[in-house]
């Protein structure tokens, strides 16, 4: 009738485990390592995924990026045939067509990129001139640290003004104040009106470009000064390229609108561009986010499977030791039964022991796993320091680890489950013993 209070059973279980403390610690090691592995793995995966997500979001989750692409076969043709101008890419007509076909597209930003040499006094630097419009900032989170961003009037007047990316500003002006200085971009002089905050290298961005090594100028100025032909002298041999627009970004109001709009844009470009020479590309950052999510789950599944195997091994270990313990304590079981213990009292006694062991192992595993998750970026940073490897991609991907509550809950419930699963059979064996025979056991 009266069943035992759980605190009593728990106290008894803990007391029994403390009879052989060394054995108890060894028994929970398997669970400890398994849980530690799952927590650390999930933290690393989560960290990488968050970092990549941020990079994708930098491109804008509600954006569609239409990029110009050099058609592959004509590229080889042009290098062999010097002086032949290669015409490709997006046109202002494309931009207009996109704008008029998609409702709710808040901004369409035409942009042009031209590789040039930037000069200030004796300092020279290969940079990209980025011809753009004032509302470019609405699409991308761009932060001005000094001066100002391009204004509509700059565009109208085709002014020779420029806003510098953060690293370019540092390279050209290591000691001076850049604002108001005049620099040369190719053949023309431009006045620096602003400097941007670092945007980071867009490894998730189009073609892994560097957003900080760029000089931004009004789009109109770019068209006039650089024309539609780019003469690139950087490769030794000369090559001409004709490209009206390198990139169009379509910003939509919500994520749901992104995919239908991408289909419309693809349809438009397919219709108006030569299908044999595909010189455009529609990039949907949102798709990358989904792909990222899938890759992340792949790693999560992998990590969890490895952890599951070690938990299984840990569970079998607990079960073996519990079975040995049940045999060893046969006499005790007989005594307890003779003194009034019911079968289910014996079951709970042994089950509590395995659950306490595995839960404790799990809790310590979580603790060690969190320490590892916290220690890995730190240790890698030290290693990078010693080996003098800069913050390279592989290392920087591990520069952050995130322990989610979900991972901790998963790890703890898995260890409790293992405790129950590994304890059921030994506990059942103990409870099924005949009291008289158990009492006679030597």
């Amino acid at each position: 009738m009266l069943s035992l209070k759980s605190t009593e059973i728990l106290r008894l279980g803990v007391a029994n485990l403390l009879v052989h403390p060394g054995r108890s610690v060894l028994t929970m090691l398997g669970i400890l390592f398994g849980v530690c592995a799952v927590v650390a793995t999930l933290a690393i995966v989560e960290g990488i995924s968050l970092k990549m997500q941020e990079e994708v979001l930098k491109m804008g989750a509600t954006n569609i990026i239409v990029a110009a692409r050099k058609p592959a076969e004509s590229q080889s043709a042009s290098t062999g045939d010097q002086g032949h101008a290669l015409a490709y890419g997006l046109t202002y007509d494309d931009a207009e067509r996109i704008q008029s076909s998609i409702q709710g597209a808040s901004v369409i930003v035409p942009a042009r990129k031209i590789p040039v040499t930037a000069r200030y006094l004796t300092r020279r630097n290969r940079v990209e001139v980025f011809g753009t419009v004032p509302w470019y900032t609405e699409t991308y989170g761009i932060e001005v640290t000094q001066g100002r961003w391009l204004a509509p009037l700059d565009l109208k007047k085709m002014d020779n003004v420029t806003v510098l990316g953060s690293s370019l500003a540092v390279e050209l002006f290591p000691h001076e104040e850049p604002l108001g200085k005049v620099i040369w971009l190719g053949e023309n002089a431009y006045r620096v009106i602003g400097v941007l905050a670092p945007r980071g290298s867009g490894s998730a961005g189009a073609g892994g470009e560097d957003f900080d090594h760029v000089a931004y100028i009004p789009l109109t100025a770019a068209s006039r000064r650089f024309g539609n032909v780019i003469l690139d002298r950087s490769v030794g041999s000369h090559s001409f390229e004709m490209c009206e627009l390198h990139e169009i970004t379509v910003k939509l109001k919500s994520a749901e609108q992104v995919r239908p709009a991408a289909r419309i844009i693809t349809g438009l470009l397919e219709k108006f561009h030569d299908p044999k020479k595909k010189d455009w590309e529609v990039q949907v950052p949102l798709d990358r986010l989904d792909a990222l999510e899938r890759t992340k789950w792949l790693f999560v599944v992998l990590g969890v499977s490895i952890a599951a195997i070690s938990l299984l091994v840990g569970g079998i270990g607990i079960m073996n030791i519990m079975l040995a313990s049940v045999t060893e304590r046969t006499r005790e079981i007989g005594i307890r039964r003779a003194l009034g213990a019911k079968r289910r009292d014996i079951v709970s006694q042994f089950l509590v022991e395995t659950v306490v062991l595995s839960t404790l192992g799990g809790a310590i595993g979580v603790f060690v796993g969190v320490l590892m998750a916290w220690g890995i970026p730190w240790a890698l940073a030290r290693v990078a320091e010693i080996l003098k490897v800069g913050g390279e991609a592989a290392l920087s991907n591990l520069s952050r680890t995130v322990v989610t509550p979900g991972a901790v809950i998963l790890a703890l419930s898995a260890s409790i489950f293992v405790g129950i699963a590994s304890g059921v059979y030994p506990a059942y064996r103990a409870a099924q013993m005949d009291p008289i025979r158990a009492l006679r056991h030597e």
Binding site: M1, L2, S3, L4, K5, E8, L12, A15, N16, V19, R331, E332, G334, I335, R336, R337, A338, L339, G340, A341, K342, R343, R344, D345, P435, I436, L439
Partner: protein, 227 residues
């Protein structure tokens, strides 16, 4: 009304396909409240089997067992455990204390399974340890106690739940004669306080201290002498 009544009780062990051991062949016995009985007989005659049945550790093959007015012959495992915990006090030849528990903790085990509160358990076990003369040794583990002390702990444990009947299977069998006498003196004392006791023994001298001797041979009661 008898405290315990065994009616045509039999116990048969089926060992294999055609090997059957008839340990008890129809036992009839009445135990009155306050009685102190000795069960005597040669080895293998069925004494322990009788005690196990009376202690509800086992169920009879046939016959009835009435304990405290209740027929317990057909109770299920959980109900039998309950009866053992509340109405029976066991004392064994080999003491059967739990090695990792202290004397006090051992005394409390039956109360533990009845859900008695820790504080009440401790009060009761201290009281009993005092009464059986364990003194400061009560906080020691069985390994650190002498045989006599261990059997005293077992007696205290048999008393802790205030049972209807105390069953002792050769309680002095593992003790030297001097210590055995001390334990028997404790039994006499319990009997004089009105406890109902059944003791299995080989010692005629022990038998003479009791109210009666039940002689068993080959699974049958052959005589029931009153002292």
């Amino acid at each position: 009304m008898s405290l315990a009544r065994l009616i045509e009780l039999t116990k048969t062990y089926v060992m294999g396909a055609d090997v059957v051991v008839e340990a008890l062949r129809g036992i009839n016995l009445s135990v009155e409240e306050g009685q102190y009985l000795a069960i005597m007989g040669p080895s293998g005659s069925g004494k322990s089997t009788i005690l196990n049945l009376m202690g509800c550790l086992d169920r009879p093959t046939s016959g009835r067992y009435i304990l405290g007015g209740e027929d317990v012959s057909d109770l299920g495992d959980a109900a039998l455990s309950e009866v053992r915990g509340r109405r029976i006090g066991f004392i064994f030849q080999s003491f059967n204390l739990i090695p990792q528990l202290t004397a006090l903790d051992n005394i409390e085990v039956p109360l533990f399974y009845q859900g008695v509160h820790r504080r009440d358990r401790r009060r009761r076990s201290m009281e009993l340890a005092e009464r059986i003369g364990l003194g400061p040794r009560a906080r020691h583990k069985p390994m650190e106690l002498s045989g006599g002390e261990q059997q005293r702990v077992a007696i205290a444990r048999a008393l802790v739940n205030d049972p209807l009947i105390i069953l002792a299977d050769e309680p002095t069998g593992n003790l030297d004669s001097k210590t055995g006498k001390e334990i028997l003196a404790l039994f006499d004392d319990l009997s004089s306080r009105g406890r109902t006791l059944i003791i299995v023994t080989h010692d005629e001298a022990v038998g003479r201290r009791t109210h009666g001797i039940v002689r068993v041979a080959d699974g049958n009661i052959v005589s029931h002498e009153k002292n």
